[in-house]
Symmetry: C2
Subunit: 358 residues, 2 copies
């Protein structure tokens, strides 16, 4: 099993990356010092596939575990469903020594993590991400939360997991579209921090699409290592360093908001957002045309959308940008690449972004 | 102005205690480095009295401030009203550089603090406590949260304020019953940590009831200094040290739960809980009869209840104890005094507490 440590002092934790390792989950959790009772939060889709092996692994290691299912989909990542998880934890008699296991993608991880952050003023939780997006992004770094009618992730907290446990074998049951969407976040790491990794991805498209175990473990492991370092430098997104992880997310979030979080997968919206950011950087004279084309090419190689939806009103995108929670004094700090592997933060007014998008 | 610092490293903050100092609130907030937009969370009762001077003080110091009122009373400290505060923050366009000012008693402080803890993954907040309970207890130490139908404060987070600002002059408008209830928490500090302070209180009953400014500042300041030290030793209630602050709260919380949080003020329930804890300690041979009587005497001097409500079914209290969030493996760690100024943690099963209460 590959191990990446997120070095956060008293809140440090390991990311374990393996293949066919789900049956060893209980031992890995026990090794962190957790004991007693836990609740596995999942959704019906993932639960039908992996709830039983996860329960078996936890029970075999001496844990008492029950399952709390939340509906599958970004539109259920709400305060209402957060409340349902809290209700379940109380019905199960979970106390401060209990913990949560988040089994699923980003929606499950964010909501289960936020439930852990806010139950009895904070209990531990373990991430068992089952999508590529969750593995390389949302399960690592402690961002938890729910959406609000006014925008995504507006209600939430920083709460680091005790352990992130990934079995790459679960990707075999991941819908193709989810796998491809996840690759947008993977490619993002190359653009923001690692040109060699970006090139590695370009050379391994077929192996990735075939879910080659060693290639996938290497790809996910590299993303986690980059993310772990960025998170360690700026745990609560205050110094600005962590903001580089939002490459492609400014316009991506706006597209998701405008389309009601229904039409696109998060990763697909990020792909559009990355190309939008690349084109804006180019128009501002910050990025050469080849680096724009390189991003478009690799995103297209993974079947990802590279242009804003046809017919989408740019004014609605600009309005959604104004609600971006990273906005400060009316300007959005947008992450722009100056080369593959290098990014900078550029404050732009939503109107300006709108003009550059047109 | 008296100053007590809560020494929490990067999260350290000051408690400022003065008399007639409300007009200087804005300058004190500005001195912490906060700037820009804020929302004052209060209730109609406190708002009618102090909302305008607080807004004036904040505006004079250059802040842009609006008011969000929540209903007055423990039964409104709910996830629903938390959501209303979040809605208001978003309507006002508060971003990550904004902050909340909690103006009121414990309900306002807990709920506004939790709103700050969970808005955009955490924004700063300032406590302006207007009751004795809030001044000596709930405004200091970072415990925030809301109640759940199954129990008090079950949903919440640790989130330290940026500043605690107290103007003792506001106590002039505090209903007598609230003042007396607050004295239960004040007396608690003497019992758990400071025999000399306990004796000082016995010698200053009349001055306290007359709200003598110097005596009140000294009393509140001493409580805050004790609490600051305990919180610094155990910020998130993990080492057990912080648990001593729960003296009187185990049975007190149960009485509040059984009576639907309506019949008693929190401090009144704590007074009953302190006497219950004292009697239990005496029955277990851990505390002499004089120390029990001393607690009963001083609580009675402040007009506080010293016996469980007549006719209350002890089985219902025992059932409520089982839901205590401090319960671990079916036992409640109860704080018992071994002398005035000295306490210890004793794990007891709810049934055992029930028998000792009988």
């Amino acid at each position: 099993m590959e191990k990446v440590t997120v070095p956060l002092g008293a809140r440090a934790y390991d990311i374990l990356i393996g293949h066919g390792t789900l049956p060893t989950l209980g031992q890995a959790v026990a090794a962190t010092g957790l004991e007693g009772r836990c609740v596995v939060v999942t959704n019906p889709t993932v639960g039908a596939l992996y709830e039983q092996p996860v329960l078996a692994a936890l029970t075999a290691a001496g844990f008492s575990a029950s399952v709390c299912r939340v509906p599958d989909g970004e539109r259920f990542k709400t305060a209402k469903w957060l409340g349902r998880i809290h209700d379940h934890l109380l019905e199960q008699g979970l106390d401060r020594h209990g913990f949560i296991v988040a089994l699923g993608g980003g929606v499950v991880g964010d909501m289960a993590g936020f439930a852990a952050a806010t139950f009895l003023r904070g209990i531990p939780f373990v991430q068992v991400p089952t999508t590529v997006v969750a593995q390389v992004d949302s399960s690592v770094g402690g961002k938890t939360g729910v959406n609000h009618p006014r925008g995504k992730n507006l209600i939430g907290a920083f709460h680091q997991p005790r352990l992130v446990f990934m079995d790459m074998a679960v990707l075999a049951t991941l819908p193709r579209r989810e796998l491809l969407a996840g690759m947008a976040e993977v490619i993002k790491y190359g653009v923001i921090a690692d040109r060699a990794f970006f090139d590695y991805l370009r050379g391994h498209v077929a192996a990735i699409l075939a879910l080659d175990p060693q290639v996938m473990a290497r790809v996910v492991g590299r993303c986690c290592a980059i993310k772990a370092q960025v998170v360690a430098d700026d745990e609560t997104e205050t110094s600005g360093r962590r903001a580089i992880l939002n490459y492609g997310h400014t316009v991506g979030h706006a597209v998701e908001a405008v389309t009601g979080y229904r039409r696109y997968k998060h990763g697909e919206a990020v792909a559009m957002g990355m190309v939008a950011a690349a084109r804006i950087a180019h128009k501002l004279g910050r990025l050469d045309a080849r680096a724009v084309a390189a991003q478009v090419d690799i995103l297209e190689a993974f079947g990802l959308p590279v242009a804003l939806p046809r017919g989408m009103d740019p004014n609605r995108v600009v309005a959604a940008l104004g609600h971006d929670k990273k906005a400060a004094q009316g300007r959005v700090k947008m992450v722009l690449a100056s080369a593959i592997g290098q990014v900078e933060l550029v404050p732009l007014a939503p109107d300006e972004i709108g003009r550059l998008l047109a």
